[in-house]
Amino acid sequence: MKTISADKIKKAVEDLCIRANLFLRKDVLLALRRAYREERNGRARRIIAALIKNADVASSEGLAICQDTGMPVVFLEIGQNVRVSGNLQKAVNRGIESGYRKGALRNSVVREPLSRKKAGFTPGIIHTDIVEGDKLKVTVLPKGFGCENKAQLKMFNPTAEWREIKEFIISAVKNAGPDACPPYIVGVGIGGTADYAMFLAKKSLLSKVPNARKAKSKIEKELLDELNKLRIGPMGLGGDATVLAVHISTFPTHIAGLPVAVNISCHALRSQTKIL
């Protein structure tokens, strides 16, 4: 049994919140640079260049990459041989509070969703998973809501064809159009239950963005190519760079259904991980 103190977890979350919001993920930065090199539309190239410069200004001047520092989504993979001393949930939320405060980030969370009252930094959305081993893996994904608002879920019939599913995913990206800061990274969850499909779609965004127009599987590649044919482009003004990556995660599901969830990320896909 290994003991990890709540304080250590708090400090890790604090650090991850700051790093995620100030330093663009290296894979995302490389993907933007590749998009810049490959882009044929002059205006789109200039916009991508501005996004790369933005990442540079953010890291060198200690500014958030985007003013929407998101609703913090925290993934915890807890080894079954780990014992946490203290309150885990409080530790995570205190880490968020302190990281967002120190990083001069935005208090974008309202405590009361209907009255819209009490804006603050927390609570974050915490997903926990119990895994083998004696480590605790903490990942912070600050999810901006320009793109979160474009998430879609559809419960297909089990007899649905891949073509129909593909059309649904493409229509979700079309619907986001110029509004949610393209070029996008598209997370797709297929299977499980309604809630689990969306969780899978969200978690897919943590996958590495490939540094070439390639994908892990044939269907991801097919989607990537078709989505880029939409030519939404940076800021929605047209261009080759519409989607930087498509990540599909699947899970067993029920004989009576086929849940498909799409969770889109803007080009400022931010996340950081630490293993304790």
Binding site: I47, A50, L51, K53, N54, A55, V57, A58, E61, G62, L63, A64, I65, C66, Q67, D68, T69, R101, A104, L105, R106, N107, S108, R116, A119, G146, N149, G177, P178, D179, A180, C181, M235, G236, L237, C266, H267, A268
Partner: protein, 174 residues
């Protein structure tokens, strides 16, 4: 690159065409969802507005906290379509320009055409970079809304693209 100043003059607005790249110098006002709700209430109740709309521009933006030693934090645009239900009434009341990201509803494009206004977009997801164009920031209304309050910003050569011009023409396909 066309250069414009605020308050916007009708002859300047007329020259702006959808797709033009523009550099803006002058005062703009931040307002997003909750501030729009209040502005509309103020208009309905005939209460005094926090600033005179005449020839002015609203920027759909809720900046981060201001880091020490900076004028403002990260301050990029938020999605404009969420303001669509409020915008026509504000335009009717004299507002001339809006800055945000993404598409606008038909009723907004029609109001822009009818009252000869203009809708701009700016680099979305580049809040750190855009903060360099803001030279001054003052809280002027709805302080209780925090980052959603109305700030008066003085911007210098702020980069914009005309997304809907005064003839109602849009850079986006519907």
């Amino acid at each position: 690159m066309k250069e414009i100043k605020t308050p916007l003059r009708q002859e300047d607005i007329r020259k702006l065409k959808a797709g033009d790249e523009v550099s803006l110098t002058g005062v703009i006002y931040t307002a997003r969802d909750q501030a729009h709700k209040r502005l509309l209430e103020a208009l309905k109740m005939r209460r005094k507005l926090p600033f005179d709309f005449k020839g002015q521009i609203i920027y759909y933006c809720g900046p981060t906290k201001t880091p020490r030693g900076k004028v403002i934090g990260s301050c990029g645009p938020t999605t404009s379509s969420r303001m669509d239900e409020f915008t026509p009434a504000l335009i009717k009341a004299g507002l001339k320009g809006m800055v945000g990201k993404g598409r606008r509803a038909k009723k907004v494009r029609e109001a822009i055409k009818k009252y000869r206004g203009v809708y701009f977009i700016t680099i979305a997801g580049a809040g750190a970079l855009l903060s360099k164009f803001v030279k001054r920031s003052d809280l002027i209304a709805y302080a209780d809304l925090g980052q959603e309050a109305i700030y008066r910003l003085y911007v210098k050569e702020f980069p914009l693209i005309v997304a809907v011009d005064s003839s109602g023409k849009s850079v986006f396909k519907d």
